[in-house]
Amino acid sequence: MAVVSENVIVVENLSKRYLIGHQVSASGGRYKYTALRDVLGREIRNFARKMADVVSGRQVVQGDEIEEYWALRDVSFRVKQGEVLGIIGRNGAGKSTLLKILSRITEPTEGRISLRGRVSSLLEVGTGFHPELTGRENIFLNGAILGMTQREIRKKFDEIVAFAEVEKFLDTPVKHYSSGMYVRLAFAVAAHLEPEILIVDEVLAVGDVEFQKKCLGKMNEVSRNQGRTVLFVSHNMDAILKLCTQGVLFESGIIRAIGDINTVVPDYLTSHPPSPEVVDFSGKARPGQFAERVRLAKVCPSEVGRAWVFPFGHQLSIDLSIHAKPSVNEVEVIVGLYSIRGFEVATWSSAVDDVALRLHPGTNTFRIGFQRLRLLPGRYLLAFSLFSNRGFEDGILEAVQFEIMPAAEIDPNKMDGSALVSATVSVID
């Protein structure tokens, strides 16, 4: 396939500003106690500000303090035709904002982009799927939403159904689908788009391993064999390395590295700053506007002065603090352990272990010591999430990074992977 060196995407000095509001709450330590007078005063001030916003036609922001936040700052880069550009960076680095601007969903605050060719973006699997409609109907609905014509969809219909492996359930409303089937169907529609520029955000994070492989294969086919330009966001470095030729590394809204993917990924892997001993979550990015009743407060290693570095074979033990309001008295904690490349290595759930974590109002600290876990030397990430009887309450991905020190008995040339298991051996013949 002939390589045409033509810039299909040119991004110049792109910036995006958001306004965000903060709630000054009692738990923030600003007020020792909340008096009715204070609440009334605050409400009246907020109301006056909102009215002023309405009159001047500005955006109304919920909260007591308003802050400007630059999700992207002065970003410039070019993409040539047929390139597969991997966009990497930690949560909140500005990747998704960039994709939203490129897909014309939101407008930049400053700067300009020129695009050549039809753009399709896949920022979420199954956008617009309607639970009451059948699989067949949703294929047409979703296809139209993604920009396909009905004729195109009809032509590819059989292919889509075969890819999704849902033939038997085509006429069942998708609300009765398993989540696996749902994701497969949604991805199958998207995989049959034929744009000149394809923008994909973290869609491989869902679905089972088998299906992820299938998706990767399909993406590979789209980019390599059909010469399309692809922008791909993922936390999964293996997928990024397999698919992409070029890479851009974002860090708090600016580009930190750009160039060949094989030089950018190591940059990303080492860019995680070592976590401070006590990791405070108060300023961390959270998915959505949850966490009003129970919040993750902070975490540190159980052993004082240990920092986040452990010898091989040492028991991993952490002290996790949770801030609770009186309305919640019990919580389930789930700890996810990820390799630095973004693969989930192990999970712990307090509910599965039948550990009841009772809460009193205020800050509760729990010591969690992981049993029968032998991690191989390397860097790992911890993610935390909290569930109450109402469901999901709070969660933080990439909350802490820690390191298992190299050990004499572990030869990295002989062993791959993340965890060491034990086995029983007996001679049978």
Partner: protein, 270 residues
């Protein structure tokens, strides 16, 4: 294609045309979902206007003894008012909430946002067509056959349609920014039902107030409906109709303008 801050889309209307298929699909989705998991399904589109007609006929016709137009049966007079009113009010309230009901679409995919509220009004239009059947049944029941004026009805139907599009677009875009409007709409609809001549003939309004009354765009529309359906027994008050059309046109222009202005920030605010 160029993306820039504050750039007005030059090909906006062309884009809208290009996305006509999405428009069709969204309208079809709303239609097929509308009466899912209900027992009597589409009958709801018949029962609601029918019961309203019954109540209004009893209250305004029997109890309050308001006069009808000419010799037309009071039930027919009321129903000729309910038809455009229901089209207007369901269109207005559904379209006003349509953007926030489609949050996931708006924050994840690009398309001309105008499609969403207008597709919901099309759904209201289908409901209108269904309840039109009741009118036919009523006409047979009262042996009241329409004359040539019936041919003019589509003009007033489209007038009712545009009367709801204008304010709906404006309120829908405001609703994204200020959710207060979610609570304002039911109030407007309830209020409007009594301010508009739905349960009574607008001829009972004193002559000197008639023009002022026609500032309510629904007055012209409902009068037009009655004129077409009741064989001209309700005479058409032309200055009032003209004023209503001007108000509808103004609201339509204003709604589209406000919508276009705020459209780009929908994804950030929703």
């Amino acid at each position: 294609m160029i993306i820039e801050a504050g750039r007005t889309e030059r090909h906006y209307w062309l884009d809208l045309w290009r996305y006509r298929e999405l428009f069709r699909v969204l309208a079809w989705r709303d239609l097929s979902v509308r009466y899912k998991q209900t027992v009597i399904g589409v009958l709801w589109a018949l029962i609601r206007p029918f019961l309203t007609m019954l109540v209004f006929t009893i209250i305004f016709g029997r109890i309050a003894k308001l006069p009808t137009d000419g010799s037309a049966p009071y039930a027919l007079l009321v129903f000729a008012g309910i038809l455009p009113w229901t089209l207007f009010s369901t269109g207005l309230s559904d379209a006003s909430n349509s953007l926030i009901n489609n949050t996931s679409l708006i924050s994840k995919v690009y398309f001309p946002r105008l499609i969403v509220p207008i597709a919901t009004i099309v759904v209201a239009f289908v409901d209108f067509l269904i309840s039109f059947c009741i009118l036919l049944v009523l006409m047979v029941w009262y042996r009241f056959l329409p004359d040539w004026r019936m041919i003019m009805l589509p003009i007033f139907v489209s007038l009712a349609f545009f009367a709801s599009v204008g304010p709906a677009l404006w309120i829908a875009s405001l609703n994204v920014k200020y959710r207060d409007f979610r609570y304002v709409i039911p109030f407007i609809v309830q209020f409007g039902l009594y301010v508009s001549p739905v349960g009574f003939s607008s001829s009972i309004v004193p002559e000197r107030w008639r023009l002022l009354y026609s500032l309510n765009p629904l007055v012209g529309v409902i009068d037009g409906f009655r004129w077409c359906i009741l064989r001209g027994q309700s005479e058409l008050y032309l200055p009032g109709l003209f004023l209503s059309v001007v108000v509808i046109a103004f609201l339509l222009w204003f709604g589209i303008r406000q919508f276009r202005r705020m459209e780009k920030s929908f994804a950030d605010l929703i």
